[in-house]
C-alpha cells in the first residue's frame, strides 16, 4: 500500500542519515549553549575543539576508511594553511613581510571562503599528483613514506623564505574563524565525510580494510579507492589548516609539524579509528582532556596549597592514555561503531524493514 511504503522508505532514509545527524545535532546544541552562556575562554576551547574535529575527521577519511595509517597527514594541513594565509593577507602587508613573493600572489586578496576553497583545491591537486604510488605501498611503507613526505613539506616551508617567510612566523592573517564560522564548516565536513563513506567508493574502501584479499577477489581496486580517499582527506586537512591560520592570525612551520600530527593520530585512535563517530568522539574527548590538563599544569591553588606548574605532564598523560587504549581497547572508545539513532524510530512503534546501517562496521578480533 502506498502509505506504508512511504513510511518504510522514510524510515529507511532516517536510518541512513542517523549516524551523521547523531553527530551534527549534539555539536550544534553544544555550540549554541556555548555561544549563549560561555565565557570567552570556553568559547575559544570550543573553537579549537572543532578545529581538531575537522583535522581528525580529515585524517579518518583516509586512514580510518582504508586502514592505512598516514603519519604525514599534517603536511597537507601545513600546505593548506600557508596557501590560504597567503591568499588572504592584505597585499600591503605582503609587500612588507614577503617582498620576494611573486607579484601574482602578492597583489591578491581573496575573501576567506574563496581562499579556503582554493586552498582545498590546491592541496587536493597536490595529493592527486603524489598520492598514487604512496597508497600502493604495504606494511610499514606508507607510514614511513608519509613521514618522509611531511619532512619534505616541512623543509620546503621552513626554507622557502620568499614565499613563506621561512622559519619565522608569518603574520597578518585575518582572524575570522569565529564560533559560527567553524561550526558551519564542521557541519559541511561531517556531511562530506559521511557522504563519502556511505558512497559505493567509500564502502568498497572499508571492505578492503576488513579483508584485503577478499575485497580484491571481488574486483575492488583497492589502490584506486585509497587514492580517492586520500584526495578528499587532503582537502579536508587543508581546510582545517586554512581555518587554523585564520584563528591564530599567524603561522609557523614548527607548529604544523609532528607534535600536532601525532595529536591527531592520538585523537583518532582514542575515539576509534574505524568510524566517523570515533573520529569526532576522540577529538572532543582529547581536546577536553588536554584543556583540563593544561589548566592543571598551569598550576592552581587549593586553599593555602599551591601546586606549581610542571611542563610536560600533559604530554605524558596523553601518551600513557594512547598506549593504554592501544593495548586494552584498540578499537577505541566507540569500538569502531557509528552512532545509531534508529532506535528512536522503533520506540515510536514503527515497524519498517530493517535497513542495513551503512555506517556500522564491526571490528574483527583475531585470536591467535
Amino acid at each position: 500500500m502506498a502509505e506504508s511504503s512511504l513510511r518504510s522508505r522514510g524510515f529507511a532514509l532516517w536510518v541512513r542519515v542517523a549516524p551523521v545527524v547523531g553527530l551534527i545535532v549534539p555539536i550544534c546544541l553544544g555550540v549554541l549553549l556555548a555561544q549563549a552562556f560561555a565565557p570567552p575562554s570556553i568559547k575559544r576551547v570550543v573553537v579549537t575543539t572543532l578545529l581538531n574535529v575537522i583535522l581528525v575527521v580529515g585524517f579518518y577519511v583516509f586512514s580510518g576508511n582504508s586502514g592505512v595509517i598516514s603519519f604525514g597527514h599534517i603536511g597537507f594541513t601545513a600546505i593548506g594553511a600557508y596557501v590560504v594565509g597567503l591568499l588572504t593577507i592584505p597585499p600591503l602587508m605582503k609587500q612588507v613581510i614577503l617582498p620576494d613573493l611573486p607579484s601574482a600572489v602578492a597583489h591578491l586578496s581573496l575573501p576567506s571562503i574563496t581562499a579556503m576553497l582554493v586552498g582545498c583545491l590546491v592541496v587536493a591537486v597536490f595529493a592527486a599528483a603524489i598520492g598514487y604510488p604512496i597508497v600502493r605501498l604495504k606494511g610499514v611503507g606508507p607510514g614511513i613514506a608519509t613521514l618522509a613526505m611531511l619532512e619534505i613539506i616541512h623543509v620546503v616551508l621552513a626554507n622557502w623564505k620568499a614565499v613563506t617567510g621561512g622559519d619565522s612566523t608569518l603574520v597578518g592573517i585575518r582572524i575570522d574563524t569565529t564560533l559560527p564560522v567553524i561550526t558551519a564548516w564542521t557541519v559541511v565536513v561531517l556531511i562530506c565525510a559521511y557522504a563519502y563513506q556511505t558512497s559505493r567508493s567509500g564502502r568498497r574502501l572499508k571492505a578492503s580494510r576488513e579483508d584485503f584479499e577478499a575485497a580484491r577477489s571481488v574486483g575492488i581496486q583497492v589502490s584506486l579507492e585509497r587514492y580517492k580517499a586520500l584526495i578528499l582527506s587532503a582537502a579536508i586537512m587543508a581546510l582545517g589548516g586554512g581555518l587554523y591560520g585564520h584563528y591564530l592570525g599567524s603561522l609557523s612551520p614548527r607548529t604544523l609539524y609532528l607534535a600536532l600530527g601525532f595529536l591527531g593520530v592520538l585523537m583518532a585512535v582514542v575515539g576509534g579509528i574505524n568510524s566517523l563517530s570515533g573520529a569526532v568522539t576522540g577529538a572532543v574527548v582529547v581536546s577536553a582532556l588536554t584543556e583540563a590538563l593544561r589548566r592543571f599544569a598551569d598550576g592552581f591553588s587549593i586553599g593555602a596549597l599551591e601546586v606549581r606548574s610542571v611542563a610536560g605532564v600533559q604530554e605524558v598523560v596523553l601518551a600513557i592514555l594512547l598506549l593504554v587504549i592501544l593495548v586494552r581497547m584498540p578499537a577505541g572508545l566507540t569500538g569502531g561503531r557509528e552512532i545509531n539513532l534508529s532506535f528512536l524510530s522503533r520506540i515510536r512503534g514503527r515497524r519498517g524493514p530493517r535497513a542495513p546501517d551503512p555506517g556500522t562496521v564491526e571490528q574483527r578480533v583475531e585470536t591467535t
Binding site: 574483527r364 578480533v365 583475531e366 585470536t367 591467535t368
Partner: protein, 241 residues
Amino acid sequence: MLRVQDLRVVYGRTPALQSVSLEVRPREVVGVVGTNGAGKSTLLLSIAGILTPVQGDVLLDGRSLRNCAPEDIVRRGVALVPERRHIFHGMTVLENLRMGGLFRKDKQGVAADLEYVLNLFPVLRRFLPSRAGGLSGGEQQMLALARALMGKPRLLLLDEPSLGLGPKIIDRFFEDLEVLRETGLTILLVEQSVERLLDAADRVYVLRTGQVALEGAAASLSRAEVQAAYFGIEEEAGTGP
C-alpha cells in the same frame, strides 16, 4: 601419550576445529587426513602451542599443554615440522641444525645427535656450510626433519611433509619415517594424500570441516570408506576404489 580432548579452536568468529578428540599411543604412527580447510594444520598448531583453543584440552602424558608457550612444549619433547618446512633460508645448514638443539642442556648429547642426523641424511653433511635457502625442495625437507630431530623429541608432529615435493622424494621421506619409527619415535602425521597415509600409519583420523568424520586402524579401513568420509559423500555399496 598424547590425548586431544574436545578441542575447539576459532579464528575470530570462524570455528576451525569444532570438537576434535584423538589419541596417539607411544611408538605409534597416527595419520590425520582431510581436505584444505578441514582443520589439519590448526590441529597441529594447537598441539604445538601456537594457537590457543577456546575449549577442550591437549594432554601429553596426562599433563595439560593448554596454556603452555610453544617454547615450553618443545622442552617437553614435542617437535613440529610445520607446513612448508620453514627452514631459515639465510642461515647455513649447520646453523639450522644447531637451532634445533639449542634449548637442550646436554651439550654432549647434542653433538652425538648431530652426528646421528648427518648419518641419517648424508646429503646434508655436504651442505653444512652452505646457505639453507640454496637447497632443493627435498633437501630442505630433510633439513627440516633433521632439525626437528636435533631436539630429541618423543613426539614428532609433521604437517603435510609431502607438499610441493616430487614422488621419488616423497617415497624416500616415508622410508625415513619408517626408520625413525623403529627408533621409538611417536609420530602424528598430517597429509592430504590418502594412499600414502594408509600405507604409513597405524591408525588414521579423517577430519572434515573441523570434526573427526572417521577413525580407525589403517589396515581395517578401505580407501573407499576414507574417501567418502574425506569428501562427505554417502558411500554407495559396491563402489570400488
